[in-house]
Amino acid sequence: MAASATASRPDGVAKVQGTFAFSSDLTADGFLWGATLRSPHPHARITGIDVSGAWRIPGVEAVVTAADVPGKATYGLISSDQPVFASDVVRYVGEPVAAVAADHPDTCRRALAAIVVEYELLAPLVDPQRAVDGTHPSIHPDGNVVRHQRIVRGDQTIDGPVVVEGTYHLGMQDQAFLGLEAALAVPDSGGDGVELFVATQWLHEDQKQIAACLGFPAHKVRLTLGGVGGAFGAREDISLQVHTCLLALRTGRPVRMAYSREESFLGHVHRHPCTIWMRHHAELDGRIRRIEARFVFDGGAYASTSSAVLINAVTHAQGPYKCDNATVDGWAVRTNNPPCGAMRGFGVVQACFAHEGQMDRLAAAVGSDPVSIRLLNAMQTGDHLITGQVIQNVAPVARCIQETAALPLPDQPVGGHDANPLRLPGGSGLTADVGHVRRGIGWGVAIKNLMYSEAFDDYSTARVRLADGVAFVKFATSEVGQGFVTIAGQIARSVLGVDEVVLEPIDTTIGSAGSTSASRQTWMSGGAVDGACRLVRERLFERVGTAHGVDPLRLAIDGSDVVDTGGTLRVPVGLASAGVVIEQTFEHHHRPTEDLDEMGQGNCHTAFAFVAHRAVVDVDLELGLVKVVQIATAQDVGRALNPLSVVGQIEGGIAQGVGLAVMEEIIQEGGHVRNASFTDYLLPTFLDMPDVVISLIEEPDPMAPLGAKGVGEPPTISSTPAVVAAIRDALGKDLWRVPVRPADICL
């Protein structure tokens, strides 16, 4: 694969020229606009809905409510607990109550305003601790606790000799993809089926949930991936899919729905806010003996993936460190806050912020330093997790730390050699002079599970057809920007020796690829494309072998030729495949995993990756403003199939980790989001992103089909605690909450 490792994106030119069709760009003759009416209350009983006002507005073609949902009334990824439209009770601000289809977005806006919903307000549950305590009446038939999981392992009596403990809090982060939720639904003539073009992370899961709600068999709902403008977890759950299809079926016309940014903040799940208490017991030299931990995840109104997020958190409580004894308790609970679910890092972001804070406390308690304490405890292949699972993957934790430490520190002093004020905290606000600023350095190290866990049959499907020297590759893998389309071509070229690869449309006419999440597609869909290509190659070698009287087992691909490794035969692949069609389909399944038992024991995860981050920050101590100067990172990638893409994932993931550390938070008050816009939900700009220096650790993993581990999530996970540790280092003061706000630093 080395020859094509510099391959650039097949969709690159279309994207830079603006011709790439995102889901929001798709249109059809005679289409209508769809729009959603949402609850203004966090918890209320619906006592009446009068839609007649909307019908009276010229241009309105459909108004639908819960009463119009022909199939199942609810959907959900793990448990089907979320209504397509609220019918009796609304449980969060922004919950869909009705939808309309009309000729113009402004007509839709007026139609929504004309729908009268009468609410009887109910006391909202906004404190997740009250859900844990059981001191608030149930807000959902399934109860207020989505999941409780303990992990109990080893000697529970271990106490000290060194004990450090702390409480950590993470605010609610938004995925904030740029490409807002959008879809186009086209009804079949006769209305007994529908075609949906949508930006999603998992076409087949959407198909299953949509079909159930529409009362159709799955094959009557055909999905094609609309161009995806980023995902980061927020497109794993259903948002507008069912509504769009329903409006199209109602009107018999194509319907486009497109969320506004404000609606997007209300209309998809977020990263769980979380409170974590941890206590570490260690030897006098800092070796961890036992950990105790308690997690409370606020899942918001509906379950989404909360139970899986919780499991990720509790099973990663020890971090990438050896630990034989543990007592962990975790809750994912229901509240009347916005629903939370998947976001890059999926529960491990929360756990890592806590365990890395603990490592710094431990270093201080035993008179060590952040690097030594982590090296002392670093886990390696063959070690046990607190679930009892043995790490069988390549586990270069110590190497991640050492290679990160060896990367150069910034060559610029505070304010830079050019004394450019934009380098200082506060940036263009010209708030600081060099004398007001102190520099700090901090560390974060992480372990992240890859692929799905807990006995889930996780697989991906690919079909490859070789015809006249051209490989046609088909899969349902959602390309969300990560670059799977690039490596799919690389794999086909290198395995089959072809020059031309055609990627066929990404849709539901082939088997599932699973979700583009959990850092899994390089491994899973990469494995599937590789597997299908290998099957095709076997057939090709059989043909060539037969034609030339050579044992197919002696044949190999060399460049773009089929060659006899024990002879002189050399046939170009184009010639060898002329006039024939060889087609093969392959499903890649990862090894089976197990459920956790009551004590939290079991081989629940598939594989793991590791990473270290070192952050350098400049802090204006008096104003509490921060400039992240540099992040150094060494990441365990297995094998970098496309180094440029890997660097892109690392830098992009770090940007999201930096955002969580110093600015990104959905601010809520009593269940109401106060900053549902890009004016007030702040994302890092060019002037907020630090320099990133990277060392790729390439130790091909024998368990991975291509030796390559997923790389998307680890950069987001430990960059956050590294930045916070660096701020603490500059400040000499405790900080145990993210995002760190200016007042947390200076008041």
Binding site: G18, D25, G179, G229
Partner: protein, 171 residues
């Protein structure tokens, strides 16, 4: 209107926009529509992207009379008589500009949603400042949010273009 150079549009009257060198009629439009909406939904120019509707992301950047602005904040009906250049006007389909090609080559594109806006902003930057420093690049592009890349490869792409252009004009 007394002055022939000015315009007075009553409800849903037609008006003309000058886009990428062509006069384009806009008919039956609601006059509250933004230039972004009109470009996309009435003129079929889908390259400009909307991601925030309030000028906080730069995805919809276009040139109006040579100035880089957010098309979501331009009232389309008030943009008559102004020269508008969109991403579609940068280079013919299939023949990317040097900036566009550099974005592809440098790995500056992931999901690509912010990309058209960044291409417009980069062309505008290099026009005014052919050899920008890294800090200048960061400040001049700070109105364009990218959620995928962390910006590193984009800065690299801009620098590649600056270097390539310099070597072209060098003797």
């Amino acid at each position: 209107m007394s002055d022939p150079a000015g315009t007075d549009l009553g409800s849903n009257q037609a008006y003309v926009l000058h886009v990428n060198g062509q006069g384009r009629d806009v008919r039956d439009a609601w006059l509250g529509e933004s230039l972004l909406f009109v470009l996309r939904e009435r003129l079929g120019l889908m390259g400009s992207k909307g991601a925030c509707e309030q000028g906080e992301c730069g995805s919809c950047s276009v040139l109006v009379d040579g100035a880089l602005v957010c098309s979501c904040l331009v009232l389309a009906a008030a943009a008559q008589g102004q020269q508008i250049v969109t991403i579609e006007g940068v280079a013919p389909v299939g023949s990317p500009s040097d900036v566009q090609q550099a974005f592809v080559d440098a790995g500056a594109v992931q999901c690509g949603f912010c990309t058209p806006g960044l291409i417009m902003a980069t062309h505008s930057l290099l026009e005014r400042s052919p050899e920008p420093t890294e800090m200048e690049i960061r400040e001049e592009l700070s109105g364009n949010i990218c959620r995928c890349t962390g910006y590193g490869r984009i800065i690299d792409a801009v620098q590649r273009v600056a270097v390539a252009r310099r070597s072209q004009v060098a003797p």
